[in-house]
Symmetry: C2
Subunit: 205 residues, 2 copies
């Protein structure tokens, strides 16, 4: 939109959806893709095994530990972390290209990774996703059936610590069971609002 009175802010945003394991980060991003929202969805590189239904290059770039090590050495990752013995990283070039094209960049990342993004880019838009109750979180992790009892315990303990970091985020959104579209709508409201700030975020990487 053009205006000779007030300059409308169309600077692209770097949007980070984060929160404890099990809150529904992947589901939220999946629903956004289904709704054909005009974001660049970052494809994360990971060494974790491909789950049924996941496609390489779409859900993740599935790479070997050797390939991942090479990306680290070449400085090709914006951020990377070991999450439950698996590596995950955000390819830097991909994010820069998308921002340069003027598109809002959308990524999901664990809480530790979000902290790193905040340090690298203080004006990133950080959204903390949470279940309504701890019970809901436990139910979702159990329903996945991908966790050993020890793994589950570890994830819950980690979640409790991560919830204390919510103040580092800009916004938090509760993602209740069976109301994914409402959650997406709230996130879209936040993004819409951010594009109407008089003091726009300055995203530089």
């Amino acid at each position: 939109m053009q205006s000779d009175l007030v300059e409308e802010q169309r600077q692209p945003l770097l949007i980070v959806i984060s929160g404890p394991s099990g809150v529904g980060k992947d589901s939220v991003l999946q629903r956004m893709k289904e709704r054909n929202l005009p974001f660049h969805f970052v494809v994360t590189a990971t060494t974790r095994p491909q789950r049924p239904g996941e496609a390489d290059g779409v859900d993740y770039y599935f790479v070997t530990h050797d390939e991942f090590a090479e990306m680290i050495e070449k400085g090709e990752l914006l951020e990377y972390a070991i999450v439950y013995n698996d590596y995950k990283g955000i390819p830097k070039g991909q994010v820069r290209q998308a921002l340069a094209s003027g598109r809002d960049v959308m990524m999901r990342i664990d809480v530790q990774g979000a902290e790193t993004i905040r340090e690298l880019c203080p004006d990133a838009l950080l959204i903390f996703l949470s279940t309504r109750t701890e019970g809901e979180l436990v139910s979702r992790l159990e329903a996945r059936k991908t966790e050993t009892p020890e793994g589950l315990k570890l994830r819950i303990a980690t979640a409790r610590q991560e919830l204390k970091r919510v103040g580092m985020f800009d916004y938090y959104v509760i993602n209740p069971d069976h109301r994914l579209d409402e959650t997406v709508d709230i996130i879209l409201s936040i993004i819409n609002a951010e594009h109407h700030r008089t003091q726009p975020r300055q995203v530089t990487l």
Copy 2:
């Protein structure tokens, strides 16, 4: 909404819709009322003559200059200003009561008044409404047919000065002709987003 993990922020907001004369502040608030949005809409006291279609106690409290002077003396006004030879003021008690009841308070006010609200309440949510172009603003003022040529000239000159104050506001929203519902939807997005901030605004008066 209740959560034992993250406290959802339901602190009421003090929302100020401002902008130059002619940008459509009254129309935007009128449309919000028609849509039965759950805000407390502040009723401003004014000494200006009632226009056709306006109802006392609904659109404004129409008061005499003597009555207005008494409200000033008794300290019953949050803010007041002389606007084109007429007095307008915000009854303080009304705003406090609405906030105490937990409702978001919505008011429209001229740019000068918005500056006063910012001083009184730094965490007020200030939205600057603008037309897309200066030509649109002039057309709207002319269409009102309530302006003398001198009055129109004065309003346009004032608008030019007011546009320079946009940085004092939190958000700006373009209100194009014939797209009132879109404008209202953007404002609702902003309010929705604000209720999901991790650092909520502290509204005290």
